[in-house]
Amino acid sequence: MSNAEQIEAAAADWLARRDNGQWTEQEQRALDEWLRAATAHRIAYLRLDSAWRGADRLAEAAAEAPARRTWERFSPRRIAAGLALAGAAALFAGYYSSPAPQNYATAVGENRTLALADGSRLTLNTGSRVRTEVGSGARKVWLDGGEAYFDIAHDAAHPFVVQAGDSRITVLGTRFVVRRDGDAVKVAVAEGKVRVEQAGRQVLLLANDTAQADARQIATSRKTPAQLVQLLSWREGRLVMDQLTLAQAAGEFNRYNRRQLVIADPALSGMVIGGSFAPENVDGFARLLQQGFGLRVDNRDDKIIISR
């Protein structure tokens, strides 16, 4: 190695160490000393530093060419590793180079809006859990359960990433909702563009598009604006059901209430119903079934049993 190359390697090592987030005052003093020792040191450092800072714009480049980042970057192994990391990230809270992860949860029946550090807002629906890491360098949210509505502040250089189980949702600035039921993840886009990735597959959603991703596939569906309003109706404290089966409707109510609806007769499960309800008004819904459809309603402890 030539003299210049040795100096360059040393400068690169300084920068890499400085980049590792555990930079101490003592190291800074040592670096200052090294930089003062020779103009060649300073030159090498300036040169590499400018390139490394410039590489911050890679995020922008990647956002402009999303197709480049598919299979290799989102293989199942890496997604599994990413999930392991999610846990690890919580352990390393207080690590100052990245924003400290925050945990938020809503109780059953609760609905709560949070303001994030980047100006984005997120509204949690009933019984939901998220962890957020939003700061200068990164914008990430893990949806660990439930449903959340995102109103994302535009920042082209820092894509906003929502990790819901194995699905990864990447956006620049937009409004959309993500719901997680176990392994199934549903995304509905109110405005803007959203990329959903799962096990190497990816799909781009525009306004009024919805996608349902599970381990097997990503299924997309285009909704009318009115249908999308329904999907977001929980934010206004309404549960709007359009052409749902009784089983699905019961599932919706059960998300919001401790007292659970149980359809005792399988033959009833496929019955199609619709309407707009306050989510906590499960008794009103039961009465409607009783009076409007002639079904039998039995209240037992925490259960409301529906039968013929």
């Binding site: 030539s2 003299n3 920068l15 890499a16 590489a55 890679l58 990391l85 990245s98």
Partner: protein
């Protein structure tokens, strides 16, 4: 005498974007490619130290004059040097034809070159740099994510920094610094 940081800024803003042209000039006028990194360093040191006393009004003319003087010094001291090389160096002071348009790639073009520079990195190095810069992970998170040692991540970052600098600066890209278009001035008649 100017503030150190101002001098640093000047160097990054005015001199580094000329690196691609400088390297072409050095390569064309010096046979031993292995000596190019040392020559570049020496030119930069001379320019930086002169600028400490007073900033040159025409940075690019000053950079190439420094490069030429350095090559002449070296050629005179060298054990073996081609007479043509020496004659060329001493007779010509033109450098304008070294300036080619790619350094004015502009915002979007810069992003493309940046992406290209990333793609050219060896696989593991590329993965580490991507996670760090695109996904915004810390080095520690990258280590967790990839299941490798933090020291390995740091080493790959160090390697990535050098490779990115070489690739970007050789194409005249100093990202994030907007430069007005540069007038091409041809002083001498020779190619």
């Amino acid at each position: 005498m100017m503030m150190q940081t101002d001098l640093d800024d000047w160097f990054v803003r005015e001199i580094l974007p000329l690196e691609g042209a400088l390297m072409r000039y050095l390569r064309r006028n010096w046979r031993d490619a292995a000596e190019l990194p040392d020559l570049r360093q020496e030119v930069y040191v001379r320019v930086y130290e002169s600028a400490r006393a007073r900033l040159p009004e025409q940075p690019q003319a000053f950079l190439f004059a420094s490069a030429r003087h350095l090559l002449i010094d070296r050629a005179r001291r060298a054990q073996i040097v081609s007479i043509e090389t020496l004659a060329d160096l001493e007779s010509s002071d033109h450098v304008a034809d070294e300036l080619t348009p790619e350094r004015h790639a502009g915002g979007r073009g810069e992003l493309r070159l940046l992406q290209q520079a990333l793609d050219e990195l060896p696989q593991r190095c590329r993965e580490v740099v991507s996670l760090r810069k695109i996904d915004g992970m810390s080095q520690r998170e990258v280590a967790q994510y990839m299941g490798i040692q933090e020291a390995t991540v740091e080493k790959q970052i160090s390697k990535g920094i050098r490779a990115l600098a070489e690739s970007l600066l050789s194409k005249g890209v100093v990202v994030g610094i907007a430069r007005a278009s540069v007038r091409l001035v041809k002083k001498g008649g020779q190619p």
